[in-house]
């Protein structure tokens, strides 16, 4: 749809059961963009993000991703037995990047002290920080974030917003479902 877009979606429509969740949703994310998805609870923001990530098949329309993406959602992907250190190590290996940077990532996410605590004993905020640490393991131009500010304290929010603006300055794009304003500086909002 759009020349040079990192990710573009055309005429997406989705049906759940017999209910039309949304239709005719189009968007394009270029380098430096921050697209915020807005809509009431149950409007289908999460479903739209999952479609953009390629997890859910849309009923109509199509998605083109020209670059790899990161995925952060409500369900963080941490196993109860994993620690921040083993979680990031596992994904660094799975993605084929160097595991040597994990200490730096843990440091940046302020997770050095709980780095050896298993996820079942971590607080919600610490789990969220661990998941966000995956964003730093590998440079990927597209970040898909579902309510990324949930469970984060003031420091955490600032940290994440800083990461996002650095990412955009490096030529990345983010697409996020964010509830409320949260001082989020977006280039475009998509209502669904």
């Amino acid at each position: 749809m759009s020349i040079g877009a990192l990710l573009s979606a055309t005429d997406l429509g989705m049906i759940r059961g017999e209910r039309i969740l949304f239709r005719n949703v189009s968007l394009a994310a270029h380098a430096g963009d921050a697209i915020v998805l807005r809509g009431a609870n149950g409007a289908g923001k999460t479903t739209l993000l999952r479609i953009l990530a390629g997890l859910t098949r849309p009923e109509t329309g199509k998605v083109d991703r020209s670059a790899p993406h990161h995925w952060i959602a409500h369900r963080e992907g941490l196993k109860p037995h994993e620690t921040p250190f083993t979680h990031l190590g596992l994904w660094a290996r799975a993605w084929g990047t160097s595991a040597g940077q994990i200490d730096a990532v843990l440091d940046k996410m302020a997770l050095i002290r709980p780095s050896g605590v298993s996820a079942r004993h971590l607080s919600a905020g610490q789990r969220r920080r661990t998941a966000l640490g995956r964003l730093l393991l590998q440079e990927r131009p597209i970040w898909l974030l579902d309510e990324p500010l949930t469970a984060l304290d003031a420091d955490g929010r600032e940290l994440l917003l800083g990461m996002i603006s650095e990412h955009r300055m490096r030529g990345g794009a983010i697409i996020a479902a964010i509830h409320g304003d949260a001082g989020f500086d977006s280039t475009c909002e998509v209502m669904i």
Partner: protein, 243 residues
């Protein structure tokens, strides 16, 4: 060719006259087959006397048990590849009917088995075992569909399971045959094969065809019901959405 049938509207017009014909012809054939089978043809002492007359119910049921599972698997395959909604509706409609005829096959087989084998259930009979596992496959299919939260997911999960089951059926059949061939005794009677007398053949064929037509008619009626149900749900969803 599939695409031509895949239109729900075309299916409704087609089935609105085809289903009644199936019912009428099916009823006639079953009635004639049963009348011939139960009163006219001579009983066969070698096959257990009068009890062999259950054959006119048992053999059609056995045929439909196998045919319906294969039909369900083929419909699932068509749905999985081409996403034709009518194929999924057909697979969904076949499942409970197939399970019913499979159960009928097991019950009549058991009734026939009691006087001839002296037992209600013969573990050594490969056919009984295979049909029993087919019955489980139907139950699993229906339970899985019922457990999914949307009809699209039910269709996908059901199609995967029906196809996995279908490619396993030959292996299950082979293993059961091997299992039973080792401890089979001479009392097992074969009903099929060319040695069957011609007097039985025509009533049996009529019965088989009649049951198939009845089955086809019922499948079409269930499919019609499903299509109307989906349409009603769509209208309801639109009304709620205020569209």
């Amino acid at each position: 060719m599939f695409s031509w049938f895949a239109n729900p509207h075309r299916f409704l017009t087609l089935s609105s006259w085809l289903a009644p014909i199936c019912y009428a012809l099916g009823a006639l054939l079953i009635a004639w087959g049963l009348w011939q089978g139960l009163w006219i043809v001579p009983k066969d002492e070698y096959q257990g006397g009068d009890i062999m007359r259950v054959m006119f119910l048992h053999v059609p049921a056995a045929w439909l048990a196998m045919a319906s599972y294969m039909g369900m698997a083929v419909m699932s395959f068509i749905w999985f590849i081409w996403r034709h909604e009518v194929a999924d509706i057909a697979a969904k409609a076949i499942a409970p009917l197939g399970a019913t005829w499979t159960a009928l096959c097991l019950v009549t087989g058991s009734i026939w088995g009691k006087p001839t084998w002296g037992t209600w259930w013969q573990w050594d009979d490969a056919r009984m075992m295979s049909v029993l596992f087919m019955f489980f496959l139907f139950l699993g299919y229906m339970a899985l569909r019922g457990a999914m939260d949307t009809r699209q997911k039910a269709a996908r999960a059901g199609a995967i399971l029906a196809m996995v089951g279908a490619i396993n059926v030959p292996l299950i059949k082979f293993s059961v045959d091997l299992f039973t061939s080792l401890h089979q005794d001479a009392s097992v009677i074969t009903v099929d094969g060319p040695k069957m007398a011609a007097v039985y053949l025509w009533p049996l064929l009529a019965s088989g065809l009649g049951h198939s037509l009845l089955f086809a008619g019922l499948v079409m009626t269930l499919m019609q019901a499903e299509i109307w149900q989906r349409r009603a749900a769509q209208i309801r969803a639109r009304l709620i959405a205020g569209d």
